[in-house]
């Protein structure tokens, strides 16, 4: 459980005539992680050529993917899997069918879209003239009359009358401004122009249409509605088409992807004119299966050999383990979900300890210490179970399980703190105890009052020290493998010694500081702690040189960082405290029987506790995570391992 899945290096050699069967078998088995061959590394070999069907399948795949994109096809639940032979036969014919139908539909839709745009532009041109009672042709074609159409800010009639009595002025209100059409004899052009400029004239040119503007506008609108109706019908057609063909398209996509994968596989192998060599990794437990399947498929004419790399590692202290062994986790089922947390940081390398087994306990524990409320814990448990039941994807299921674990530990710590919906949920919890029926349960650490907080502060630092010591022991074990016992001792165990000494000394020194007594230099625990700490410091200097001293404040900072377990938790405690005080004491208790206050109180209670619960998922989750990544992992974890991705495919929509 603390080591990743054991891998063996495998080499497969055969004649190029057998390449097809080999690839088929490997793909079906889905166990070999292929090490891609790099041409630069070897002068005799070249990468292989793709199989002939590669161009055909990748072309079809491209077309299929673009169709799938246009239609916006996403995952559908699988009712029936399609058979591969069926697909292979029908693919060509159906694909051209689908392609032409889809492009037709899309073309019509695009045409309608552009027509609608034109109509909108036309409407915008006509609209200003709709407030004037003239037909369009009456604005044009005059020899002696000047026509002005546009918007003005003030009434120009008096000014125009000053210039001439021979004019026609039509006006109307358009979008809050005054729209005018002014007709005057041409000789007054310049004077009129002055008047118009003074009135803030904005010209609107007369469009080249005929007939009454209002009538034209109605025509446009009717046409627009007809086009929109047509467009909705086309979109419905597209949706129906999508539903009809979705499964087929997804299944064909899967089929073609698999075929393309198989056809392009030779690009990853080393080949000569007549032979191929496949380099890869397979889990040791699956090697027999791999060997026998290939022997069967090729009548024993392909050579499969396992290369042991582990024996060498045990003999020397510097293992010649190549850097890119693919890593797959090997954890018992309950601990599997926590692999998400480990992967989020990075995959362990092959020689490292796999910390999932440790995180399995410590992450929910730290989460619970921060949240520590029975009601919120129960809510998180229920939510986790719900997500786990309802989701199809693996990572969501893992997330749900982590939620369940976190909820369980929150409930346990809620019992320790005696908090349900906060520490003063009358009449169930108050004064550090839970009263249910006649049963009374006292809190072990009461978070709502001073003494309890001080105790919690000390407890959290102790929890932190234990967590760090676990991490350092893991680092110790990693270092033994790499650099030998002595170095591991001096580099990692020295810190453990320092931590233990420091804790012992602090246990006596801190209360003395708080109560303003002098340092208890005669106390045996303090002296023992001091001596152990000094031994630790000497070991650190021996192990890391002078730089080790510089890291001592670092470890102190790491320990104190764990006080956030207390601090973040307290924030949620006091939000709940205030909510309960407002909702219960101030609303319900102070005005018994009054329905308005009852509703007000209930509303406050539900909304604030919902908010607090939401914060109670984000904050503890984040802080527990950060404590793991920054304080815990830096003591031993390097990460950067390569993910195990075997050559193969997990079929969803097709079957052989």
């Amino acid at each position: 459980m603390f080591k990743p899945l054991e891998m063996s290096k495998v080499i497969i050699i055969g004649s190029t005539k057998l390449l097809d069967q080999t690839i088929e078998t490997l793909h079906d088995l889905n166990v070999l992680h292929i090490s891609d061959f790099r041409e630069e590394s070897d002068p005799y070999f070249k990468i292989g050529k793709p199989l002939e069907k590669a161009s055909y399948t990748s072309e079809k795949l491209l077309k299929l993917r673009s169709i799938s994109n246009y239609l916006g096809i996403s995952e559908v639940p699988v009712e029936k899997r399609l058979k591969v032979e069926e697909l292979a036969r029908e693919l060509d014919k159906r694909l051209t069918e689908i392609d032409s139908k889809v492009s037709e539909l899309l073309e019509r839709r695009n045409k309608i879209d552009s027509e609608l745009k034109d109509l909108a532009a036309k409407e915008a041109e006509i609209e200003p003239f709709a407030v004037l009672p003239l037909e369009f042709q009456l604005y044009r074609g005059y020899a002696n009359i000047a026509v002005y159409t546009g918007l003005v800010r003030v009434d120009i009639e008096p000014k125009v009358q000053e210039i001439t009595k021979e004019y026609e002025l039509f006006s109307g209100s358009f979008e809050g401004q005054r729209m005018i059409a002014l007709f005057v004899p041409k000789q007054f052009e310049t004077q009129i122009a002055e008047v118009l400029v003074g009135a803030g004239f904005q010209e609107i040119p007369v469009p080249e249409y005929e007939g009454l503007p209002e009538k034209l506008l109605n025509e446009c609108r009717q046409k627009g509605e007809a086009l929109l109706a047509e467009k909705t019908k086309i979109e419905e057609d597209i949706v129906k088409f999508k539903e009809q063909y979705a499964t087929f398209i997804l299944a064909s996509e899967e089929y073609l992807s698999i075929e393309t994968q198989k056809a392009e596989a030779p690009l990853r192998f080393a080949t000569t004119a007549n032979s191929f060599i496949i380099d890869g990794w397979v889990p040791t437990e699956k090697f027999e299966l791999l060997q026998s399947s290939i022997q069967k498929a090729t009548d024993g004419r392909v050579y499969v050999q396992k290369l042991e790399i582990h024996e060498k590692a045990h003999e020397e202290h510097t293992p010649e383990v190549p850097a890119d062994i693919p890593v797959e986790y090997k954890n018992p089922k309950p601990a599997k979900p926590l692999q998400l947390i480990c992967d989020l940081f990075s995959r362990p390398t092959y020689e490292e300890i796999d910390p999932t087994g440790i995180i399995f306990i410590t992450y929910p524990l730290l989460f619970g210490i921060i949240l520590g409320d029975i009601a919120y814990g129960a809510m998180i448990l229920v939510m986790g179970a719900f997500i786990k039941l309802k989701s199809k994807e693996e990572w969501l299921q893992y997330l749900g399980t982590i939620g369940i674990y976190a909820g369980v530990f929150s409930i346990i710590m809620g019992m320790v703190y005696a908090e349900i919906f906060g520490p003063n949920f009358d009449p169930i919890t108050s004064h550090g105890a839970i009263h249910v029926g006649g049963f009374v349960w006292h809190a072990i650490i009461d978070r709502a009052e001073g003494e309890g907080i001080k105790m919690l502060l000390g407890v959290t630092i102790l929890v932190g020290v234990v967590h760090l010591i676990i991490g350092l022991f893991a680092g110790f074990r990693n270092e033994i493998k790499h650099h030998g016992l002595k170095k591991a001792l001096l580099e990692k165990l020295s810190w453990v010694v320092l931590l233990i000494g420091g804790v012992l000394a602090a246990m006596r020194a801190v209360p003395a500081m708080i109560e303003k007594h002098p340092m208890p230099t005669s106390d045996s625990v303090f002296l023992a702690g001091g001596v152990i700490a000094i031994v630790g410091v000497i070991m650190i200097i021996l192990g890391e040189g002078g730089m080790g001293l510089v890291h001592i404040p670092g470890i102190m900072s790491n320990c104190l960082s764990y006080t956030r377990l207390c601090a973040v938790g307290l924030s949620s405690v006091f939000i709940a405290y205030a909510t309960n005080m407002m909702a219960i004491d101030m609303c319900i208790k102070a005005h018994p029987g009054d329905i308005v206050f009852l509703i007000l109180g209930l509303f406050t209670f539900i909304s604030m506790h919902a908010l607090n619960a939401l914060l109670g998922i984000l904050a503890p989750g984040l802080h527990a995570l950060r404590l793991h990544y920054v304080e815990f992992f830096t003591k031993f974890y390097k990460g950067g391992g390569k993910k195990y991705s075997p050559f193969g495919y997990i079929r969803k929509y097709t079957e052989e």
Binding site: F345, S561, V630
Partner: protein
């Protein structure tokens, strides 16, 4: 009077160091996210480098505790 000043200094200790820690982690965090956008594996290193300045605020906390309790 003395208690008031002690409380105020504890507050300043935590507040100013918090501010300093925030300023310190500001650019490192932005750079870490940028690096991560290009290469997911850098998440671990990025996160650790971003929170290295946290020790500043821890020291502030220690000073505040010392002030309040001694």
């Amino acid at each position: 009077m003395v208690e008031g000043i002690v409380a105020l200094s504890a507050a300043i200790a935590v507040g100013a160091t918090g501010f300093a820690s925030g300023i310190a982690e500001m650019n490192i965090g932005a750079a870490a996210i940028g690096a991560m956008a290009e290469k997911e594996e850098l998440f671990g290193k990025g996160l650790i480098l971003t929170v290295i300045p946290e020790t500043i605020v821890i020291f502030g906390l220690v000073v505040a505790i010392l002030l309040l309790f001694t």
